[in-house]
């Protein structure tokens, strides 16, 4: 029971993949016209991201004895979404560890950090460059470094080194919204290759270059009028779930 589709024919309209401009326009509309709060959106996306992770990697399926997950958070919104995701994973009884090398000075995001700390989620002080250590310690890595607003040409340290490390690990990577280091439209053949892509609200164009096993749409809150206006043609979400496999 989801949004009524605009077309009445039998053919299902294809899912729309957003350009950078469209992605920005949707977010702007949500914040300015619909008056969603930024913290509210981050909470919704972080929760939905955690649900997506549990869908692909349910607790009993994890190979290691401890359900450890490494969440690597960047300095902006994508990183904040990662923090909320880590917190919900904790509630779901996973054992997340966060690596958050450059904390945002934005007071809106600072509280997300406190919430994680107060829930006893450890924060690493550095990421080992020895890849085997990461492979051994964690079941999955969540890439919450850069989002749709990032310019791949401008990736700076420490993220260039972090991404170089992530390129070599053998455990699965889940990227939130956009694989970090990828251009939001054209992707990046030299960049990381996540196993799972969690597209937030709607997929971005670079998702067409995604070669991993699972592409999940997360964040079931986009008003129908926004969906229609941008011709998103989103699939139906099952029941009351906030994630759907694409």
């Amino acid at each position: 029971m989801s949004c009524p589709s605009t077309q009445s024919g039998e053919q299902i309209e294809p899912l729309r993949y957003l350009s950078r401009v469209e992605a920005e326009a949707i977010e702007k509309e949500l914040l300015e016209d619909y008056k969603f709060g930024r913290q509210q959106l981050i909470e919704i996306w972080g929760h939905a991201s955690a649900m997506a992770v549990t869908k692909v990697f349910p607790l009993p399926s994890l190979p290691r004895k401890q359900p450890t997950v490494l969440v690597v958070c960047g300095p902006d919104q994508n990183g904040a979404i990662g923090l909320v995701c880590a917190r919900h994973l904790r509630v779901f009884e996973y054992e997340p560890t966060i690596f958050y090398p450059k904390r945002s000075l934005n007071s809106l995001y600072r509280d997300f950090t406190t919430q994680c700390e107060k829930m006893d989620i450890p924060f690493l002080s550095y990421l080992p460059t020895e890849v085997q250590l990461i492979n051994d310690a964690y079941n999955v890595v969540i890439d919450a470094i850069l989002g749709a607003d990032a310019e791949p040409g401008e990736v700076k340290e420490p993220y260039t080194s972090i991404l170089a490390t992530l390129k070599q690990i053998r455990i699965p990577i889940v990227s939130l919204d956009v694989p970090s280091g990828w251009d939001v439209e054209t992707g990046n053949s030299e960049g990381i290759s996540p196993d799972v892509l969690v597209s937030l609200a709607a997929p971005k164009q670079c998702a067409t270059r995604f070669l991993g096993r699972h592409h999940i749409l997360a964040g079931r809150f986009l008003p129908y009028d926004v969906q229609k206006k941008f011709e998103l043609n989103l699939p139906e979400y099952p029941g009351t779930e906030c994630v759907v496999s694409l």
Binding site: M1, S2, D33, Y34, K35, F36, G37, Q39, Q40, E43, I44, H47, A50, M51, T54, P58, Q66, V91, F92, E93, E95, T97, R110, D111, T114, Q115, E117, K118, M119, D120, I121, P122, F123, L124, S125, Y126, P128, E130, Q132, L133, I134, D136, A137, R220, F221, P223, Y224, D225, Y237, G239, T240
Partner: protein, 289 residues
């Protein structure tokens, strides 16, 4: 395993708030409340004066405890009202969808009336309305007294822009409500409620008491004393207790009692000896017996 110990060991941690055990030390030190612990085996119970197990072994909070927990979530844990209200409202919508799926409605489309009060309970109702719309229901909201705060204005705008109608008047008779809606959500008063019911809510509650379609109350059946309940007041079919049930829930006689608001950190659960049963998997609601 020395590499793992190095990664998780003290040398690499910036946050002194971590109590994670070293590698190989067994399960996460934060205890999961097992069913045995919740239903009376005694594990996890402090025996303090705050303990007050209800029928099921889960703690029923006094008004003071409920307020203290709320305060701690905001001041110590730095949660924002926005965040918790979003999760609370989602819980309410999810619980409603479980108990009253659209297919169970005799009316089509499945229409729901949400009555929102002047405080946070009303805000929970607004979030609930929005999620019910995404779940395929047709909600309408009555929100006669709106606080002039950005949070509530934002939530109202979100609903209005999603074509959720806001009734300018409350239906004058219960039969009208029975005619138009398959379910009523009572989001009028919550756990902070004290004293007399002011208009227009007195009249609204008197009308709701006559309604025959099911009523789902958020957190506390409105008009009830938060601890003692109210034998003459609203008798909802469903109660969605947020965080933990309040003492009033012991007087709840409807069919469905759900727990929602799955965001209370384990340390806080332990501090107040909440004895919450475990939520199933990743569900944000839990049906209580």
């Amino acid at each position: 395993m020395s590499g793992l110990r190095a990664l998780l060991g003290l040398g690499l941690l910036v946050s002194s708030g971590s109590r994670l055990a070293a590698a190989g030390g067994g399960r996460c030190p934060v205890q999961r409340v097992s069913p045995a612990g919740a239903w009376g085996a005694g594990r996890g119970r402090s025996g303090s004066a705050m303990q007050n197990p209800g029928r099921s072994g889960v703690t029923h909070l006094s008004q003071e405890e409920a307020q203290a927990i709320d305060q701690e979530l905001f001041t110590e844990y730095k949660f924002s009202v926005d965040q918790l209200m979003e999760l609370a409202g989602l819980s309410c919508a999810t619980a409603i969808a479980k108990a009253y799926p659209p297919s169970s409605f005799t009316k089509s489309p499945p229409t729901v009336l949400i009555v929102c009060g002047p405080g946070n309970n009303g805000g929970d109702g607004l979030v609930c309305a929005r999620h019910l719309k995404m779940f395929g229901y047709e909600p309408s909201v009555h929100y006669p007294k709106r606080p002039g705060k950005a949070l509530f204005e934002g939530l109202t705008t979100q609903c209005q822009k999603m074509d959720i109608p806001f009734l300018s008047e409350f239906p004058s008779e219960a039969v009208l409500i029975d005619e138009l809606y398959g379910l009523v959500v009572d989001a009028i008063f919550g756990f902070s409620f004290k004293g007399a019911v002011r208009e227009p809510f007195g009249s609204i509650l008197r009308t709701l008491e006559q309604v025959t379609v099911p009523i789902a109350s958020i957190d506390i059946p409105s008009g009830w004393d938060v601890e003692k309940g109210s034998p003459d007041g609203l008798q909802p079919d469903m109660l969605i207790s947020l965080t933990a049930p309040k003492k009033a829930a012991q007087h709840f006689a409807g069919r469905y009692h759900f727990l929602g608001g799955r965001f209370v950190p384990m340390a806080l659960q332990q501090k107040y000896s909440l004895n919450l049963p475990p939520y199933p998997e990743t569900d944000c609601v839990l049906q209580l017996p």
